[in-house]
């Protein structure tokens, strides 16, 4: 792998040529005026050499544009704060060995898709036997007791159950993100934990298509996992964090 330069730009076919593709609609008819507005929009995005390569009507009051242009800004990757989960994830067998070595009792993970969110495929992928894409879910992990409450679970109910089963880890899935639904719902859960004075009793991990670790940390959770993450990623992170905290350790 080549070293990453200090100042990079998007790449089309020549290093740092800054080539970017954009598309958007405007609340204007599709005509020369619309094209000029599209160009102005692209320029406001710090593009030069703007080419409106396609413009089409979306009906009498709206129009759509495909634009290519050259971004004049550079980004220095070395200055970026990259929030990730730390060391490489362990495989299932290693997680099991780790649990066996470090902990006394089985670790209890409780999970749900919360609020009005009825999407279960994501949380199931992490928790159920079957898992997804060839990666077994937590239910199949020796040393882990996985309780999946399913979907449309109110924050209050989730916390109640977590206390009831003496959970070590709470897993929350959020899929509907329109108008930042997920942020509101997740924030409410953190507030609930704090209001009840139990924030420190649990490792709380969130996941979903628009979740990443950085966002999770920002919202006050211990970790976040998005697309392409599997049970072993979550388990790996969780067992290490629990060991660090000394929860149920031998």
């Amino acid at each position: 792998m080549k070293p990453i330069p200090k100042a990079i730009r998007p790449y089309g076919d020549t290093l740092h040529d800054g080539k970017v593709q954009i598309s958007f609609s405007l609340p204007m008819p599709s005509d020369a005026h619309g094209e000029a507005a599209a160009k102005a929009v692209a320029q406001s995005m710090r593009l030069v050499d703007v080419a409106v390569v396609e413009q089409r009507s979306l009906g009498k009051d709206y129009s759509f544009y495909v634009v290519y242009g050259t971004l004049t800004e550079t980004v220095d990757p070395s200055t970026l704060k990259v929030v990730d989960h730390g060391e490489k994830a362990m495989r299932k067998t290693d997680v099991e060995a780790f649990i066996n070595e470090h902990f006394q009792a089985p670790l209890v993970f409780i999970g749900a898709s919360t609020g009005t969110d009825a999407h279960t495929v994501g949380i199931d992928a992490i928790m159920n036997m079957k898992g997804i894409a060839g990666h077994y879910g937590l239910e199949r992990y020796e040393g882990i007791e996985a309780i999946n409450l399913g979907s449309q679970i109110d924050n209050e109910v989730l916390l109640e159950k977590a206390l009831e089963v003496n959970a070590d880890v709470i897993l929350i899935s959020q899929t509907v993100t329109q108008k930042d639904m997920h942020i509101r719902n997740l924030t409410a859960f953190v507030e609930l934990l704090e209001a009840e004075g139990v924030r420190d009793r649990f490792l709380v991990i969130i996941g979903g298509p628009r979740i990443n670790h950085a966002l999770a940390k920002e919202l006050g959770f211990d970790a976040g996992f998005g697309p392409g993450k599997f049970a072993f990623d979550v388990a790996s992170f969780a067992v290490k964090a629990l060991a660090e905290r000394g929860v149920k350790t031998r």
Partner: protein, 519 residues
């Protein structure tokens, strides 16, 4: 193009499906639900909300419940009140709300005279009949068209934005507009009121929203010389109420499938099956096409392994619809192109499945759903997945063609997403117009073998269900792998056993009309 299929197996499938459905109907016949009764009230003309935003139909039902009258049915109480007070149904509702009228105090005991009640109903029914006649005169039935009807959704959460989006879609070639409902509405045990502007992932289904969108589509359709169909959801805890509102406001299709609600919304199975019966009678009467939700199974389970569950469920849904007096032409049975694009021969397999559905339900306007689960953020590849789906839709003559959005994995559709999807579908339909005249399915080739295999698996599953009963099937999670308990789930508290005095002349009237073929 034709698959060679074993007709005996097909007949057996239908026989088993009948066996599945028949006992349900008798089991549930002695029950009614709060929303069924509220529907009766709506069909008498009761509408609007009180000062606490509670819809008057709910006000009355709550009152009946509180006064121990519910088990006799809303019609019983209303008929008495109409006879006793000489007020209009709406005035009665308002009086009840104000506490000036107690419906448990009526003059004569036993069954009341139904004349005034039926008068009230008839005047409402007239609107339904007018709407139905208007639709009949203007809409070409999807099953009669050469190319599938292009169906797109709007889901901004704001009815006024929805209208902008829908009109643009019409201008770009859409035949059908579905207004997706806001997250969570299906769990509300009342129908919200008025024009609304803040749904999540969809827009609240209200009568006013229906009306606004209907008017906008009528106007846009007129400008473009075609009738544009409107769709909403007769599902969730207010299934029959919404069916009634749809009939009144000339919706043309209604998502309507209890199995969906049970499995994906955790709605109690007894509740929703009772509700579904009334909804389907209503929709059958009003000539509204229903859309069933078998496609959803494959958003959870693997499309290849569970293909037969879709077929089995279609057979069951067909029987539920027939029981409600619905002709095949109104049965928009659902299925979907949800196959994993990583699977070899995904196109061939989905072609087989679509052609199988086509041949099993030759008169039903099939509802064909696009790839959703396996759509990723790669909007370019997404366009390609949608193109292959569009091909199968056109080649196998599906009727209700839900267009895939390249941004499926990202957000509810933007205006441009829809326009691009419409272009995609129109291009594919044009490009492959003569496919079925140009190609034959090879006898015993991969398409035919797959279709035969899926049919056989569906038959086996139907046999199992017929033996164990549908409730058990649902408990075992045979559809979509999600199990639901018979007495669990939302809305069971709204189910009640009918009193011996229970009466529902509204339902009876509709049933009779269907029997007489008045539809």
């Amino acid at each position: 193009m034709h698959l060679s299929l074993d007709t005996q197996q097909i007949n057996q499938c239908r026989e088993y499906a009948k066996k599945v459905v028949a006992p349900m109907m008798t089991d549930l016949a002695s029950y009614s639900t709060v929303t069924v009764e509220r529907t009766v009230l709506r069909l008498l003309g009761i509408d609007g909300i009180n000062r606490f935003d509670v819809p008057y139909p709910n006000v009355i039902i709550d009152h009946l419940k509180a006064t121990g009258m519910l088990e006799k049915g809303a019609a019983f109480a209303m008929a008495h009140a109409l006879n006793d007070t000489q007020l209009s149904p709406q005035a009665i509702a308002e009086a009840v709300d104000e506490g000036t009228l107690d419906l448990s105090r009526y003059k004569t005991a036993n069954q009341p005279d139904m004349t005034r009640l039926l008068e009230a109903f008839t005047s409402i029914k007239k609107r339904i009949d007018q709407q139905t006649a208007l639709r009949r005169s203007q809409r070409q039935h999807p099953r009669d068209k050469a190319v599938p009807d292009k169906y797109v959704i709007v889901a901004t959460g704001d009815i006024y934005e929805d209208i902008e989006q829908a009109v643009s879609a019409v201008e770009n070639g859409a035949d059908i507009i579905a207004v997706i409902r806001t997250t969570g509405q299906s769990l509300l045990d009342f129908v919200p009121h008025g024009a609304t502007r803040e749904g999540f992932g969809g827009t609240t289904a209200t009568r006013e929203n229906f009306r606004l969108m209907r008017a906008a589509l009528d106007e846009a359709g007129k400008r473009h010389g075609r009738y544009v169909q409107l769709v909403n959801y007769a599902s969730g805890l207010c299934m029959p109420e919404i069916a009634a509102l749809g009939a009144l406001e000339r919706l043309d299709m209604m998502l309507n499938d209890s199995l969906y609600g049970i499995i994906f919304r955790d709605i109690n199975m007894q509740r929703t099956l009772i509700d579904q019966y009334f909804s389907r009678v209503l929709s059958a009467y009003a000539d509204i096409i229903i859309n069933t939700g078998e496609d959803n199974y494959l958003t959870t389970s693997d499309a290849y392994e569970h293909a037969h569950t879709v077929i089995a469920s279609q057979f069951i849904n067909e029987q539920f619809a027939l029981k409600a007096g619905m002709p095949s032409r109104l049965m928009g049975l659902g299925h979907a192109y949800e196959i994993d694009p990583a699977r070899p021969d995904s196109f061939i397999l989905e072609f087989a499945q679509a052609q199988l559905s086509r041949q099993l339900f030759p008169n039903a306007p099939l509802k064909y759903m696009p790839p959703t689960k396996h759509m990723k953020g790669d909007i370019f590849m997404g366009s390609v997945q949608n193109a292959l789906f569009n091909m199968v839709a056109v080649m196998t003559h599906q009727d209700i063609h839900l267009l895939g959005m390249m941004t499926e994995a990202i957000h509810t559709p933007f205006m441009s997403d829809r326009a691009l999807a419409l272009d995609n579908a129109a291009y594919v339909a044009r490009a492959t117009a003569s496919f079925s005249e140009a190609f034959d399915i090879k006898p015993n080739g991969p398409v035919e073998q797959r279709a035969q295999h899926v049919l056989k698996e569906a038959l086996d599953l139907l046999q199992v269900i017929a033996e164990e009963g549908l409730f058990t099937t649902l408990e075992k999670g045979r559809f979509a792998g999600i199990g639901r308990g018979r007495t669990q789930g939302k809305g069971l508290d709204g189910v009640f056993r009918k009193d011996s005095l229970y009466t529902n002349p509204v339902l009876e009237h509709l049933q009779d009309a269907l029997k007489e073929g008045l539809r």
